[in-house]
């Protein structure tokens, strides 16, 4: 009993003080198991009733971590579809995302190590994000509001070992990416990112169709009329431009859009943007500092190696790299994709197509 982890104790103490103080942490529970969303062995992530797994077609790159995602709606409540492709979520919705690594990516289902589980909870004060860090025994994940640094290692698909320090974001950093117009919002669950098949236990089905069949959505138009954002990793899912724009949208546009922190740069990378300069073509940097490297423009059509965008994607120096947070490694495949897109641009054929 006295071996009770000091971390747990700390979390409980914090939690109880927070209940009295009206702090935003009052909506969080100290341990992942406290939510009761998974059945049996916690690490197995066997979803309980009403806990629906999903994925998104274009994924945020997080140091090659694999992710599993779940949505939990409060009983009898629905998402409502907005004409811009986003959803309104009922209060008490929980979005769950677990980050994990297999020891060897050539054998991705074996020797899994869970790193962290992030919860986005739709509280009466809006969405709030809470990071839970898995213990070494993989039996529990504890709330770590100040984030955590963890040693991580894996063998990649080519058989090479990568070792690095994995960063769990803190409570504020969750908001840093999820904030828009001073409101915190989910990024992944949008119709265009869900509009593809998912491998459910009872077979494959389009996720929007599934959610409709489970009576989880109201106001959804005919699915065949809804857009689909490319899976940038799948060469058969859209043109190079489609895939590169999908990569930029999911990795950059949570900041680089009007109303979000990256707007000070005047660089807007959301998938809807159509203005070449705003996308970076011949755009001089504003406050890039070191990030500009030796280059004059964010994108020089035809010349990825003279484009600041690529320079920052290829860097791991915290003063240079983009995104600013959430990666210690370079997403080589993403860099190659965006390079290919820039190489295909010319002064006569600027983006968008």
């Amino acid at each position: 009993m006295f071996k009770f982890s000091s971390k747990v104790l700390c979390s409980i103490l914090l939690f109880s003080s927070i209940l009295f103080s009206g702090n935003p942490l009052k909506y969080a529970k100290p341990k992942l198991s406290d939510y009761g969303v998974f059945l049996g062995n916690l690490a197995d992530h066997t979803p309980g009733k009403g806990v629906i797994p999903y994925d998104v077609s274009a994924q945020l790159f997080t140091d090659y971590a694999l992710k599993s995602r779940f949505i939990v709606l409060p009983k009898g409540k629905q998402l409502s579809y907005n004409s811009d492709g986003s959803f309104d979520f009922p209060r008490e919705t929980i979005l769950i995302k677990t980050f994990y690594y297999p020891a060897d990516f050539r054998n991705p289902n074996k020797n899994i190590r869970l790193m962290e589980t992030r919860l986005l909870i739709h509280t009466p004060e809006g969405w709030l994000g809470y990071p839970y860090v898995w213990n070494d025994a993989q039996t529990e994940a504890l709330l770590e509001i100040a984030g955590e640094r963890m040693n991580a290692t894996f063998i990649d698909i080519k058989g090479d070992r990568t070792t690095f320090e994995y960063l769990v974001p803190n409570f504020n950093q969750c908001k840093g990416c999820h904030v828009n117009q001073n409101r915190m919002i989910p990024i992944g669950p949008k119709a265009r990112l869900l509009n593809h098949e998912f491998n459910y236990k009872d077979g494959k089905m389009n996720q929007l169709k599934k959610w409709t069949s489970l009576d989880m959505i109201k106001g959804l138009p005919d699915i065949s009329t809804l857009p689909h954002t490319s899976n940038y990793s799948d060469v058969s899912d859209g043109s190079t431009a489609n895939r590169a724009r999908a990569w930029l949208d999911i990795n950059c546009a949570h900041c680089h859009r009007l109303g979000a922190p990256g707007e000070t740069s005047g660089l807007f990378l959301n998938i809807e943007e159509t203005n070449g300069t705003k996308l970076g073509v011949y755009k001089p940097p504003i406050a890039a500092g070191l990030g500009a490297g030796n280059f004059k423009h964010t994108i020089v059509p035809g010349k990825p190696d003279e484009s600041i965008m690529i320079y920052r994607m290829e860097s791991t120096n915290p003063g240079i790299m983009m995104p600013e947070l959430g990666r210690k490694l370079v997403h080589k495949e993403g860099v190659e994709l965006v390079k290919a897109w820039i190489r295909g641009l010319s002064d006569n054929h600027p983006p968008p197509e």
Binding site: S6, L9, E165, L167, G176, T264, I286
Partner: protein, 394 residues
């Protein structure tokens, strides 16, 4: 809050094994749990911090150290995040009496903050001016009600004190040296920049309006009672940054801004340009922002004291070379590119400056002859800019 602090302390005591003396986690936790009215103290000492400390969505906070040379947050081993301290979506935040050193990116960035005060804050890169230093020292952007006073900025590879896309700004009693730009006000409204000391930067004080930004322009900028001296440092900005275009030896530079008042400053021994008034065309960058005005207009320069020892301007930049060929060792103090906004009557007013020589480079008509300054047609006559409006001396 005392309640929560004591519980937090207790908690940290319990958790001593895990957190040890981890001040980074302690401060970050306090920033997350802070409630309106709280004071968070940065203890004395040099504290190594590895990731951006973030303050988000808070109201009425005082974050204070025991002195800018006593409470020091050192980011020399920074591995995470692009700033030393990041303050976002806040209201009424006061930072005072501490230093941020050697952050990989900006030292202290505040964005979307309504009322922020930096008092006796030092933002410093300790290994001298280097292109690998972070861009901005004290950096409020998209803020309202900004006060920066008794503060110091040293070694920024862009601007030491930089206020961008903000309004209602006071920068006073502060010091900036060994930066590319000492103090810069960019696309901002209603700024008083006074009683500062900007020396040994590449450029002392810059007032810029740049294209492609959310806040399209600035105005009502008053720059007065400053000492702007010996800003002759080589430009060490990483290439590609607009501030890289600032000539070493620049005292005060107005770029594409309007409604700017520069008066009662001492502008001394800046070897290339005492005060420059230039349009965005000088950058030779293309302009695609249809809402952007690249001209300067409504600029008033009066009652300043100029002095400059005879000597060559910088020869690293085209304009420097041009000025050297044209004027040798006696470079005029006030330099205007002559690009008058065709839609605005009030251009440039120059009055009652002490020992100020003037030249209008008239780049529109001389541009073709850029490399033959002997036949270029500069005008040293300031009388077209006397405006008839008398600015009285204090």
């Amino acid at each position: 809050m005392k309640n929560i602090t004591s519980k937090l302390t207790l908690c940290l005591l319990f958790a001593n094994f895990i957190f040890a003396s981890d001040i980074e986690k302690d401060l970050q936790t306090q920033f997350i749990l802070a409630e309106p009215g709280d004071t968070i103290t940065i203890p004395e000492g040099v504290h190594q911090i590895r990731g951006t400390l973030s303050i988000e969505g808070k109201k009425n906070l005082l974050i204070r150290g025991l002195g800018m040379d006593k409470s020091i947050l050192s980011f020399s081993g920074q591995t995470d995040g692009a700033q030393g301290i990041s303050i976002t979506n806040c209201k009424n935040i006061i930072l005072e009496n501490f230093a941020v050193q050697d952050s990989k990116g900006d030292a202290i960035k505040a964005q979307y903050v309504e009322r922020i005060e930096f008092r006796s804050i030092k933002a410093e890169w300790t290994n001298g001016p280097k292109p690998t230093n972070g861009a901005y020292g004290i950096y409020p952007v998209q803020c309202q009600n900004v006060l920066i006073e008794f503060s110091v900025a040293i070694g920024a590879s862009d601007a030491g004190i930089y206020v961008g896309q903000s309004s209602d700004i006071i920068v006073r009693h502060s010091t900036a040296y060994h930066n590319v730009a000492g103090i810069e006000i960019e696309n901002s409204f209603d700024a008083l920049v006074h009683t500062n000391n900007a020396y040994e930067n590449t450029g002392g004080i810059l007032i810029f309006d740049l294209p492609d930004l959310v806040q399209k322009k600035g105005g009502n900028i008053h720059v007065y009672h400053n000492i702007v001296r010996n800003n002759n440092l080589d430009n060490f900005a990483p290439p590609g940054n607009i501030v890289g275009k600032v000539l070493p030896g620049t005292g005060i530079m107005v770029l594409a801004a309007n409604d700017v008042h520069i008066y009662e400053n001492t502008i001394q021994n800046n070897k290339s340009i005492g005060t420059g008034i230039v349009s965005y065309f000088i950058t030779e960058e293309a302009i695609t922002d249809s809402l952007y005005n690249p001209y300067t207009s409504d600029i008033h320069i009066y009652n300043n004291i100029y002095s400059r020892e005879a000597g060559l301007p910088t020869l690293d930049y085209e304009i420097g070379k041009l000025m050297a060929i044209k004027y040798g060792r006696n470079i005029p103090d006030i330099i205007y590119d002559g690009m008058q906004d065709p839609d605005v009557k009030e251009g440039l007013c120059i009055q009652n400056n002490f020992r100020a020589e003037f030249t209008n480079m008239d780049i529109e008509h001389n541009f073709e002859k850029w490399y033959s300054p002997f036949i270029s047609n500069f005008s040293e006559d300031p009388s077209p800019h006397d405006c008839g409006r008398q600015h009285t001396a204090n």
